[in-house]
Amino acid sequence: MKLLDISNSAIKSLNVNRARSALTILGVVIGVFSVVTLVSIGRGMQNYIQDQFNALGSNLLFVSPGKADFQDDPSKALGRNKLDEKHVELIESNASELFITVSPYVVLGDNVRYKTKSFYGTVNGISYDDEKTYNYELDKGRFFTKSEQNTSARVAIIGPSIVEELFGTKNPVGNSIKLGDDSYQVIGSFKEKGRNFDDGVIVPYTSAMNTFDVPFFSSIVAKVRNTENVDLATREIKIALLKDLKEEDFTVLSQSDILSSIQNILQILTIGIGAIAGISLLVGGIGIMNIMLVSVTERIKEIGLRKALGATQLDIAMQFLIESVFLSLGGGLIGLLLGWLGTYASRTFLRTEIPWWAVALAFGFSVLVGVIFGTYPAITAAKKDPVEALRYE
């Protein structure tokens, strides 16, 4: 009996018990769906992080307060924050030739208000010479000057999301917005740069510290002149800061450090997801085996008849094995389709994608589950004695 004929016959018999077939494959559907969805969301998160870093460039070093090892409570690190102007100077005086800029960075969230409208954005307090550090491109107006920074002038450059929400198509330059309790004059706007930047307001860091009464920097950002010197620059920053701070008071992170830390977390998450998926595939497989055994008993007369008509043990085994593979593959396909829909739906907030290997893995695993859990029922069927099978009532 040819594979195609066996397949046709398998589809027919699965069709007879449609509801039962559907319920049987549920475990595999859920297993494959969760793998595909979670992998694609994991991918989306990785893409998101990568996009953020790509927007900044690879030669930035971040000095953050406290020991950032991604294990402790981050709020503790903020509590120990001691970073201020003195430390910027320490770094600059230690190895000025290594850096293009060394500048403070203050970041906080706040409602940006214009007349009656309000939009929750990110206030980025940066230095006057940092326009290029963060690769901002001005759309309208200008950046703030050194003297505005020195006098803590209330001036702001706003991102495209804020322009759209507060001003619509109107030119925002020259208008006044409210940050905290202070009025800031909009002196410019910047072009689209990515989701995490577009809701930003750029102000002199001195002004941000003033308005929001922040005594320390959120971090110090050093732009290294030569990408090859990132490691050397990291060491120099540490040497400089240890003159005033203890080792646990700060962390120097390069972009690749941050990226790999986050990727580590995602990897652990992926393993967890894999384990959950594995368990649900196992349960799904047991469900399939159970139903296939029931099916063997139900069709015992048919097995006897087929043997009487000339079916070999292999013919009978293949018939049941292919049925179980079809069940499990069907579950895999439905799971994949649902996963794809889930991925498609999550596109609105994450750049999710289903990597080809996840599709291959889902397929491979569903076939494997069908084969593994279909083998025992198939052998049971193949070994039935034809005379007893024909007599079975």
Partner: protein, 226 residues
Amino acid sequence: MPDNPHPLLKAENIVKEYHIDGTVIKALDNVTIEIYKGEFMSIVGKSGSGKSTIMHILGLLDTPTSGHIVLNGKEVSSFKDNQIAKIRNSEIGFVFQFFNLLQRATALENVMLPLMYSSVPKNQWAGKAKEMLKLVDLTDRMDNKSNELSGGQKQRVAIARALVNDPSIIFADEPTGNLDSKTGDAIFDLFHRLHEQGKTVVLVTHDDELAQRTERQVTLKDGVIV
């Protein structure tokens, strides 16, 4: 006995024992049966006489505890399962008391079933099956599911199925046992017709009267030929 001295199928000194709860039950005791090409014979006996057991052994569905089966001059008792299956497919046709049709399949699909396990190319399956349905006068019901057919029609589908691979022998196990007498007669006549066309037919029945209508009777009692 027919003129041909070499039997088509011979079961020689067949013993069949069953072990049930430590007790040995002898279903067949040294039974020898010869079936000749083109004959219409019957194996008769009461319930428990061993007639079904000998039919299963002759039809290569079951293996004897001891003894030999010779088909077309070849000793087949020692053949492997796969070879036996092939022989069952090409040389033997079965007709059962309870028809044993696949409920979900049409009459045509049921008749095609043995062809699926044969070497006949797929494009000839439907043609051959239709030919057999014509032979049993069921052309008009070939697309009906088997549960839409009457008892007599079901048995005719089963006969068409037994004939489709043009086997050497047809074993019919109480083929009229589940039919009313009129329909049963019609089915018997069909076997008779097949015999006239040169088929070898072995009827297995408890019904002496029916057996008398065949050319030759072998009677079994308690596992022994009498």
